[in-house]
Symmetry: C2
Subunit: 212 residues, 2 copies
């Protein structure tokens, strides 16, 4: 019988660790929706901000001195609405924030990246996973997926992870990849993609079983 | 049928997360030896250094300016033997290092803390787990185990974790509690002690199955 779940599953992941693939397989096996870059399109539609801007600012945060000065002048309004004079990347974060919240309200799903674990903190149906992998495997995966010179892959991985970490550390009050933030952190190089999916499904069955 | 394993299991843990209990149950269910503070006694016997000193310096590192100066003057000798003029806490680390290596050579076991994951890095039979827990649960567990005033528990937990982190970060080239260092990081407040044990056993079966 197909495993059922009532959980909202967030997947944070090192670049090249196979987190997206794990999340996608999981959503298929559990029969629940999957959101990775799909989130950007929905957030664009809901906020009216052009989708290209979501893609450009996806999981990145510009931490300039000027930006911090500007930040002080354009706080979020007290009713939580997006201040029209707020810097663009904050508007985009908040639009995604709203989208993630509304998707979670609809029921079980898998959401990859974009601080979803932080956005949905306090929601007892949310389970947070972090996927890591060996340097070798991540490199192989990125080489197969992107048209990029071999000697530039290490740098590409390092910069992408740094960007994701900066984004997460800035918008949350936690540290990206710190074991204590997640339900379970899995090294996909040890388990394989299918092993990680099985492990998460097993985790869900333990967790939901404990609550019954 | 009792699950069999060929793995050496290391458990790193936040103070009060139940890591010791998880490791102990795991060793019982897998029928393999368990080493936590037991390591200190063995290392004392093997090195000839008095056991009280192992207890005193257990998982702690004195990072004083003077100590660093001294460090420069007393490197480990090239044959890897313990230099008799080396500062005591380094002697103790290296004696534990030797003990952990020799225990791992004897076969499957569970080792709690003491940088065992780092000491045994590169050994393909080693599986590394990190256990976290909620602040509330950790506090409850410490209150039940130690005779300590309630208003001092938070500080006790914070200092113990800081000591363990400093020890780990100093002797390894990694960061304690960073998801990428471990096979699997588990939040025991989500799974319960038994759930964590089940999850680790399931992980072992996936991992060892992949290798067959």
């Amino acid at each position: 019988m197909k495993q059922q779940t009532r959980s909202i599953i967030t997947i944070s992941r090192e670049f090249g660790s196979g987190g997206r693939e794990i999340g996608h397989k999981l959503s298929e096996e559990l029969g629940i929706p999957f959101y990775d870059k799909e989130l950007l399109e929905i957030a664009s539609k809901e906020s009216g901000i052009c989708q290209e801007l979501f893609v450009k600012h996806d999981e990145s945060y510009t931490n300039s001195f000027l930006m911090n000065l500007v930040m002080g002048n354009y706080p979020i309004s007290q009713d939580g609405r997006i201040n029209p004079e707020m810097p663009l990347n904050h508007k985009i974060f908040l639009a995604q924030f709203d989208t993630i919240k509304s998707l979670a309200e609809k029921g079980p799903c898998v959401i990859v990246g974009r601080c979803a674990d932080y956005v949905l903190r306090g929601n007892k149906d949310v389970l947070n996973f972090f996927i890591t992998g060996s340097a070798y495997d991540k490199k192989q995966r990125i080489a197969a997926r992107y048209d990029i010179e071999k000697n530039k892959i290490d740098d590409f991985i390092k910069k992408t992870d740094k960007r994701r970490a900066n984004y997460y550390n800035y918008y949350s009050d936690m540290r990206w990849g710190d074991a204590k933030n997640y339900d379970l952190c899995i090294n996909s190089s040890k388990t394989g993609i299918d092993g990680a999916v099985e492990l998460i499904k097993y985790y869900i069955s333990i967790k939901e079983g404990n609550e019954n």
